[in-house]
């Protein structure tokens, strides 16, 4: 019944329309087919892109495990570092990406930057760095020895206050070292309390105050080695203290 009426209905449609209809159907099928083939799988699942592309990016391997991972197995170092000036410096800055070490600590030994050239990456003096960031001149700051011989990389504050005056008074020490006064220790002319190297501005060393101080070595009648040049205190530059004419750390300059 239904089949016959459908056939009659089709016969009633003009032939050209039937052909057009067939072509149209073919076109639609072609388009749908082409779309099926051309549009990548997973396209449009989450947006106007291939969801699989995101998945392959997400699948990328992790290199840096993150400082939290290190802390679980190295709590002592993490604690020490956490209270030091390096608290903000993540372990893997210095030890490199260590996700592999985290998964198999014994098979992957992390390297450690022991060489002197490393620390100046952050601490070398550079005028573009923010003022206040601790910087040193890598050439002049305690040359040659590796930084870690004095600074613990996990707690870099130098553990002992400096013993040599040169650590803080480098300029004066270097000047004196090439002057006639090279052989005189700083303490010959300055009485220094031990606490000066801890809180220098609270505990100031003494400074010579009189002409007679220099006279102890340089006066005509001074009880000092004969090779020291002598002047007559009464007539030599009277009315002035000696260091108004002679820089005491480089006395030949006048």
């Amino acid at each position: 019944m239904a089949g016959r009426s459908a056939r009659r209905w089709v016969a009633a449609v003009p032939q050209q329309v039937r052909h057009l209809g067939a072509i149209f159907a073919l076109l639609v099928a072609g388009l749908v087919g082409a779309r099926q083939v051309l549009v990548p799988k997973t396209f449009g699942e989450r947006g106007h892109y291939r969801a699989a592309a995101v998945d392959s990016i997400v699948a990328q391997e992790i290199g840096y495990a993150g400082h939290a991972a290190c802390e679980t197995c190295h709590p002592d170092i993490a604690d020490k570092k956490g209270q030091s000036y390096h608290r903000g410096v993540a372990c893997e800055v210095c030890h490199g990406p260590q996700a592999a070490h985290v998964l198999a600590p014994m098979d992957h030994k992390p390297p450690a930057p022991r060489e002197r050239a490393y620390c100046p990456l952050c601490h070398g003096y550079n005028p573009s760095r923010p003022t206040g960031f601790p910087q040193i001149d890598p050439v002049l700051h305690n040359p040659v020895r590796p930084c870690i011989s004095c600074h613990d990389p996990h707690d870099p504050t130098p553990p002992h206050p400096p013993e040599s005056c040169a650590a803080c008074h480098g300029e004066i020490a270097r000047t004196k070292a090439i002057s006639y006064h090279a052989e005189l220790p700083c303490t010959q002319c300055h009485a220094v309390d031990r606490r000066h190297s801890v809180s220098p501005r609270q505990q100031r060393p003494s400074k010579p105050t009189t002409r007679e101080f220099c006279g102890r070595c340089h006066a005509q009648d001074a009880d000092s080695p004969p090779e020291i040049p002598r002047v007559d205190l009464a007539s030599h530059g009277p009315g002035y203290v000696c260091w108004q004419c002679h820089y005491p750390h480089h006395p030949e300059a006048r």
């Binding site: 197995c73 985290v102 952050c122 005028p127 760095r129």
Partner: protein, 268 residues
């Protein structure tokens, strides 16, 4: 040894059977960390931890980065970490992030340089006379909310995810370089061997596991801040509240999601 009180047991173990206990502790640690990495919830933000990539829902996130110019010391550790984490070619043209040095002279002239992207630090500038200001500017893809690179891609191979990260579909990229031309920030490059466009992904593979991008992980001074835009508790929003924020080339209406604090007007 026999008949000793239980309290001394521990001491004996400490000296006698130390390797066993040490191995045990190590194994426990390894287990804890393996679960950590599998569970992949580490730091980032407290309330969104414990998310594996399977459970990650991009619709709940919207990422951005803050950069504090006053804190950058130009050590280039971010550049190094980016290259190591993402296997970026170690040549002088391929960077997903890099650091620029600005030297502004008294006569108003501005010199910008970035030797090897700053990966080996910066040599002291020569001809120092007359320098008015000088500082470092870390740069990366701005993950624009209105990205010109996405608009120009002829094959739709670059796109913005629901969490606001602009990514490249490596398999469909045809290497035509339109996007490289279109990026006003120079944040894209053509991979020398794969011949596809590459760029910063905000370390998407890390972020979905609750880790911060590699550059943020290694920044020693906290000059880079990663987090959610528009979530009050996120470190990024805190950073944006407490600083005067600028973006690069605002007149282009790209709507960047990399926010700079203490940015000098000279920076482009």
């Amino acid at each position: 040894m026999a008949g000793e009180l239980p309290t001394t047991d521990e001491a004996t173990q400490d000296s006698g059977a130390a390797p066993g206990r040490r191995a045990f502790v190590t194994a426990c640690g390894a287990l804890a960390v393996t679960t950590l990495l599998v569970e992949l919830g580490t730091d980032l933000e407290a309330e969104e931890q414990a998310e594996g990539p399977e459970r990650y829902d991009p619709r709940e996130h919207y990422y951005g980065m803050g950069i504090d110019i006053d804190k950058c010391i130009g050590c280039g550790r971010c550049v190094e970490a980016c290259k190591a984490e993402n296997d970026v070619p170690r040549d002088a043209h391929s960077f997903r992030t890099w650091v620029e040095r600005y030297v502004i002279h008294a006569d108003g002239e501005t010199a910008v340089d970035s030797p090897s992207g700053g990966i080996e630090g910066f040599p002291e500038p020569t001809g120092e006379a007359g320098v008015l200001r000088t500082f470092f500017v870390p740069k990366l893809c701005n993950h624009c909310a209105n990205p010109p690179c996405v608009q120009v891609c002829p094959v739709g191979a670059t796109f913005t995810t629901e969490d606001g990260v602009v990514l490249v579909d490596e398999e469909y990229c045809i290497g035509c370089r339109y996007c490289i031309q279109a990026c006003p920030y120079g944040a894209r490059f053509l991979h020398p061997t794969r011949r596809t466009a590459q760029k910063c992904t905000f370390c998407y593979h890390r972020v979905v596991r609750g880790l911060v991008p590699a550059c943020v992980e290694v920044c020693p001074t906290g000059a880079r801040i990663f987090g959610e835009v528009h979530r009050r508790s996120s470190p990024l929003e805190r950073f944006r509240r407490f600083n005067e924020i600028q973006v690069l080339k605002p007149h282009l209406n790209t709507d960047p999601k990399v926010f700079y604090a203490n940015l000098d007007g000279q920076v482009r």
